[in-house]
Amino acid sequence: MLAALALTAALLHLVGHAAFKTLLFLAAGSVLHATGTRDLDALGGLRPAMPLTTAAFGLGALAASALPPGTAFVSEWVLLQSLVHGLPAPGVATSVVLPVAVAAVALTAGLAVATFVKAFGIGFLARPRSDAAATARESPPTMIAGMALAGFACVGLAVGPTLVLPALGRVAAGLSRSEVPVTGATTIELTGIAAALSPMGLVLALTAAAVLVVGLPRMLLAHRTRRQARLWDCGAGPLSSRMEYTATSFAEPLARVFDNVLQPVQDVDVTHHRESRYLVQAVEYRRRVPDRVERRLYGPVLAAAAAWGRAGRRLADGSVHRYLGYGFATLCALLVLLVGIR
C-alpha cells in the first residue's frame, strides 16, 4: 500500500518535472538568447526588459522549490506521507532508514529553496551586473509561446494535481498489486491514511487572504500615490552594481557550512608596494569549488572506459588475417569449453 503511494509520488514528481523543468530550461534558454551568457554572476536586472521570461522563470522556480502552491510541493507531500506512515512497519531497518530518508528529503527541499531563490533573485531581480544583462531584450514570441505552454502545464499541475493523481495511483497500484492509494476530485485523499491536502483550496485561501490584506488597508487608510525614493547607500554616494550580492556571495554561507563536503580551493595573494612591506598594492582572491563527484566518481570511471577503449583499439589494427584469426580462436575456444563442461 505504502509502496504504491511512494510510487505514485515518484510518478507525480516525474510529471511535475516534465512541466517545470521544461519551463525552467526554456526560460534559461531565453536568457541565454538575450544576454549571451550563462554566468549567474553576470546577470541580474532582467525583470524590466524581459517581464515574460522573468514571470516564467519565477513560476518554474516556485514549482521546483517544493513550496505551496507548486507542483513539487504536492509530490513531496505525498512522498513524505508514505515515509511517515511506513514507521509502524516491523523491522529495525525501516525505523532507522525512514527518519534518515525524511531528513534527506527535507534537506534537499531546503537547499532547493535556497537554490531557486538564488537563481531567480540574482538572475532576474536587482540591477544588471554586466553590460550584456543591461542591454537584454525580450525574446521573440515563438520562444514566449513555448514557455507559456509549459507554464500552463505547471499551473494546471499545481492547482489540479487531482486531475492526474488518480490515474498515476492506478498505475502504481497495478505495478505493486495493491489498492489505488490516492483518490479525491479536488482534495487529495490517501487510502488508509488519515491525511488530506487540497491544493486548490490552498490557492483559493491564499488568494482570499492576499485580497484581504491588500484591500483592508485601502479601505481604512487614505490612498496615496507611491513616491520614488533613493535606496539607502550609507550616505556614500550612488550604489553601483559592483556592491550587489552576487550568486557566489549568496551561496557562500551555505558553502561554508558544507565545507567538509565541497572542499573548496581558495587562495589569497597579497602584493605589497615596492617601497614598504606594510603598504598593500593589490589583493587577489581566488576561490574555486571543484566538483568532487566529477573528480572522484566520474573521473575514474571515464578513465577506465578510455583505457578499455585504447586496449580495444590495439586489437583492431586493420589486418584481415588477424580478424579471421580472432574468429578461428573463438571457435576453438568454444569447442574446448564444450569438451570441458561435458
Partner: protein, 314 residues
C-alpha cells in the same frame, strides 16, 4: 468543515492579527523590566504600526513588484495558517489545508518572499540578509520535518487537528521521551524561524549581526507596517503551533459561546506565557556567530532524530 471550525477560524484571525503586536510588546516589556528599564508599554507596537500606516508609501528606485508583493505574501500566508490551524478549538476551518507539512511550507513561502525582496533592492544589505536567511531556512528544514515526523508517529497522521485532538484525549503522551525531545527540537526551530536570539537579534542594527533586519531595511511606511505585522503574526503563529501541539488544554471541543471564549482566553494566555518565558530567556542569551548556528541546528536535528527513534522503539 464544521461550524465550530469556522467560528474558531474567524476568532483566530482576529486574535492573531490583533494580538500579535501585543505579544511583541509584551516580550519587549518583559525584557525592558529585566534590564532595569521602564519600557514603552505593551501597546507600543500598535502605536508604531499606526504611525507607519499613516505615512506615504515609498518605492525605492530600481525595485520591482516582487519588493511590493513580499509584505502582502508574508501577511497572507501567515493569515491562512492562523485561520486553519486548530488554536482556539480542536477543529479547523479548512481541514485539507491544516496539515503540518502544508502549514510549515506555507510559513516558509512567506520567508522566501521576503528574501527575494531583499535581493530585489540590489543593496549589499538586502543580499546579505537574504543569503543568511535562506541558509538558516535550508538548515532548519530537516529538523522541522523530522520533528513533525516524531509528532505524527503516535497519532498516525500529520493532520494538525488529529494531533491536537489525540493529545487532548491522551495527556500522558506529552511527557513521553519522544514528545519531550520533539518539543525541545521544535523550540529551537521556532526560535530560528522567527529570528529570535540566539539565532538572530530582532533589535540589532549592526550589519555584522543582522539577518531579518537586513532583508527589510528598505521598507518604509505602510509596507514596513505590513512587514512588522507579518513578522509579529509569524511569531505568534509559531508559538501557537508549539503550544497547541504539546499543551492543547482549554481548546474548545464543542461549538458554543462559552467554550469558544474559554478556548480563546486559554490560547491567548498560553501564548503570552510562552512568549514571556522566551523573553526572559533572551535576557540571558547572546547572539550566536552565524557559523555557530549550524551547530545549534545540528543539535536540534539530533534531538528530533532521537525523538523519532524514541517514538519507534520505546
Amino acid at each position: 468543515m464544521t461550524g465550530l471550525g469556522l467560528w474558531s477560524g474567524l476568532l483566530q484571525a482576529v486574535l492573531v492579527v490583533g494580538g500579535s503586536p501585543l505579544l511583541v510588546g509584551l516580550m519587549r516589556q518583559v525584557r525592558a523590566r529585566l534590564q532595569g528599564r521602564a519600557g514603552p508599554g505593551v501597546l507600543q507596537p500598535w502605536r508604531h504600526l499606526r504611525k507607519l500606516g499613516r505615512r506615504e508609501p515609498v518605492a525605492p528606485r530600481g525595485t520591482s513588484e516582487v519588493f511590493r508583493a513580499a509584505p502582502v505574501l508574508l501577511v497572507s500566508t501567515t493569515l491562512v495558517v492562523a485561520v486553519v490551524a486548530p488554536f482556539v478549538s480542536t477543529s479547523s476551518a479548512f481541514g485539507p489545508v491544516a496539515d503540518l507539512f502544508a502549514v510549515v511550507a506555507l510559513l516558509a513561502l512567506g520567508a522566501v518572499g521576503l528574501a527575494l525582496a531583499g535581493i530585489d533592492t540590489g543593496t549589499a544589505f538586502g543580499g546579505m540578509g537574504a543569503s543568511r536567511a535562506m541558509t538558516i531556512l535550508a538548515l532548519v528544514e530537516p529538523t522541522l520535518l523530522v520533528a513533525v515526523f516524531a509528532l505524527s508517529v503516535p497519532v498516525g497522521s500529520t493532520s494538525l487537528t488529529a494531533i491536537v485532538g489525540s493529545t487532548l484525549h491522551d495527556p500522558e503522551r506529552v511527557i513521553s521521551p519522544g514528545s519531550l525531545l520533539a518539543g525541545v527540537a521544535l523550540l529551537v526551530v521556532v526560535v530560528a524561524e522567527t529570528g529570535r536570539l540566539p539565532v538572530d537579534n530582532p533589535s540589532t542594527h549592526l550589519e555584522l549581526t543582522m539577518v531579518h533586519e537586513a532583508t527589510v531595511l528598505e521598507y518604509a511606511g505602510p509596507d514596513l507596517a505590513l512587514v512588522e505585522l507579518g513578522t509579529a503574526m509569524r511569531l505568534s503563529v509559531y508559538l501557537g503551533l508549539l503550544v497547541n501541539l504539546f499543551v492543547p488544554w482549554g481548546a474548545a471541543t464543542s461549538p458554543g459561546v462559552v467554550a469558544l471564549l474559554v478556548g480563546t482566553a486559554a490560547f491567548a494566555t498560553k501564548v503570552a506565557l510562552v512568549g514571556a518565558a522566551l523573553a526572559v530567556a533572551e535576557v540571558f542569551l547572546a547572539k550566536l556567530r552565524l557559523f555557530r548556528v549550524p551547530e545549534l541546528l545540528a543539535g536540534s536535528f539530533l534531538l528530533a532524530l532521537l525523538a523519532v527513534t524514541a517514538a519507534a522503539f520505546l
